[in-house]
Symmetry: C2
Subunit: 366 residues, 2 copies
């Protein structure tokens, strides 16, 4: 990724900052700091405004910042200087009167401390400014997400061929992560879910010692994270035994719902309309109350980021957004079906980035 991409992002942020009540923004969210600087460490803030961009960090990161952020102004504090002291000093030197802070990622107790110690500037809560920039991915980010999709696809292709009846959910989950890493991923983008039969009724099931053979189907929700930090997020159901008519019925409803959701995706469409397009299919089939979560979410440096695809969402789709579409039906005691792909919003529609078989006749493992 060219280094000036980070400067370009900072410029976009500064333009948006001009429309707020703050003169400069203290970026404390670690992922936002990474997005704006390329620095991959933690415990570091970026103070950014029209006249300054300075990374506030500590001596653990001196060398790493030189490597990752050449040319960026840096203030390194010693371990006897609290971060708040450095922030106060930097704000005072810059003669800032109204200092913005990221109110969705600043703890209330942190704000109390700043309020006491930053005497020279008024603190202005700013919500989601960098996060909204991050929703629309640039070319490098989309390429990075494609890499994360490829690693996830390869890992799953190996898993479905290597599933053994005596394997446990945990073993399958661990093998899946290890395989994705062998294909070049940094790690799984979140702990993979491998849920056998009734466990699949828990949308966020943690893998257990339950064996694959204990039920005729399993649900796998997984993704890869690349060295770049960008992530993918997919879900598939695999059958490992006799397919019941109930599984087929539920599966086809979810697949149709997912198709309707994806078909609704293009720039300018309210995200709640995409949710509604998929939800309608599930409600018409009589399973409405068994689809208890939103249809999807943005994915990028965070596994869950904006926009939200849900009944209450106020977000509007824009080109460059990458969202999951993941309807599900969960029947306590029986199990659940969820199908999830990652979709790029293009200038005139969308592109499904993930390519893993999902036709009903393709769900047999092996």
């Amino acid at each position: 990724m060219p280094r000036d991409r980070f400067a370009a992002r900072r410029d976009r942020l500064i333009r948006r900052l001009r429309k707020t009540a703050a003169e400069a923004l203290l970026v404390t969210n670690e992922t936002n700091v990474t997005y704006l600087t390329g620095f991959s460490g933690d415990s570091s803030y970026l103070l950014i405004g029209p006249d300054q961009a300075v990374l506030l960090s500590d001596s653990r990161y001196t060398t790493q910042i030189e490597e990752e952020c050449p040319g960026l102004d840096v203030t390194i504090r010693s371990n006897r200087q609290p971060m708040t002291t450095i922030v106060a000093r930097t704000a005072k030197r810059a003669k800032l009167r109204r200092l913005g802070f990221e109110s969705t990622s600043t703890a209330f107790a942190q704000w109390e401390k700043w309020n006491q110690e930053i005497a020279s500037a008024e603190l202005v809560p700013i919500a989601g400014l960098v996060e909204r920039l991050r929703e629309q991915k640039d070319r490098g980010e989309i390429a990075a997400i494609r890499d994360a999709v490829t690693s996830a696809e390869r890992g799953f292709a190996v898993l479905r061929r290597s599933l053994l009846e005596e394997m446990t959910e945990l073993q399958a989950a661990h093998d899946l992560e290890h395989t994705m890493r062998r294909f070049g991923a940094e790690r799984a983008s979140f702990p993979p879910i491998v849920a056998v039969g009734p466990r699949a009724a828990l949308p966020h099931a943690r893998p257990t010692g339950r064996r694959i053979s204990e039920s005729p189907f399993l649900l796998v929700d997984w993704g890869a994270e690349e060295k770049t930090g960008y992530k993918s997020d997919l879900t598939r159901v695999l059958s490992t035994g006799k397919i019941s008519s109930k599984l087929e019925r539920v599966y086809r409803v979810v697949l149709n719902a997912q198709r309707e959701g994806i078909a609704a995706i293009r720039p300018g469409v309210p995200c709640r309309d995409v949710d509604a397009a998929a939800r309608r299919v599930i409600e018409k089939a009589g399973y409405g109350r068994h689809f208890g979560h939103g249809l999807g979410h943005g994915v990028g440096l965070d596994i869950h980021e904006g926009p939200r695809l849900s009944p209450a969402s106020e977000d509007i789709l824009k080109p460059g957004m990458v969202v999951t579409v993941e309807p599900g039906i969960y029947l306590p005691g029986w199990g659940g079906v969820r199908i999830e792909d990652d979709i790029l919003v293009t200038r005139d529609g969308c592109e499904v980035l993930t390519d893993v078989p999902k036709e009903f006749d393709q769900i047999v493992a092996g």
Copy 2:
């Protein structure tokens, strides 16, 4: 773990809550919710006071909560009911006038929203109440940490025997995590650091494609997390080539510093004195400015928790605390040495929980 252990923790919390200005506490920190209820999911709050303990969650977790928290009062919201609405309603029904909230893990923006919507109660910031309870581990927790130590020890024993010159830092890190899982760990407690030679000068180095053979030594910082959520955290240096007199000199200083630190650990001792005992050794050897971080931290459900062992710490050691002792010397361009063990504070001293060779003549890999 007996289920009533969670009720006992809630009772201890309620006793401490009586000394605050709040009648009840809204626990929003996910790890604190787990500690107090046994619930291992996310996005759920616990409202707790002398007259109520109710878990506020959503329909994704209905089944999981029944399994993990039998007997606990639960309110399940639908995906059209925002969490804030449910909190406001629950507080009103309970006729709470002063509702405490966890100010170190509540975002400022969240507080703004509550402030608007929770009309019936005054919001009282409470910092670190549950976190301070968590600092002193009970018997079950110490057993869980011992399990995490065992998995980490076994993983490292395999790694040191299987290191190949052509292996990369990343491959070694991934193999280490996979091995710990084969020995029963849920996952690594954090992404393992494997840093070859000069990379070891970065205390938080991310593993790269650099090969083991590129330098005569490497640093490994790793740990395991068990299904219980409890974690371990260790660091060792391994030599893979000719040992220089510089490596020997630096290593012996760090090892002596670590021994002095551990020797200072017993109940009643200020944590900054433990830091000072170790730091003195490094300063006397002339490396003071190359030890830029605190000596250690508590470890448990979080990889970094209280107490802090640092020059500025106000914490006092108490029985049941489990802390890391991890002095380091980092020389840019050359590399770094850090040695880290996990120490249990006992009634009359301490017990080193981790048992991995660290004598200078034991650092040769193989």
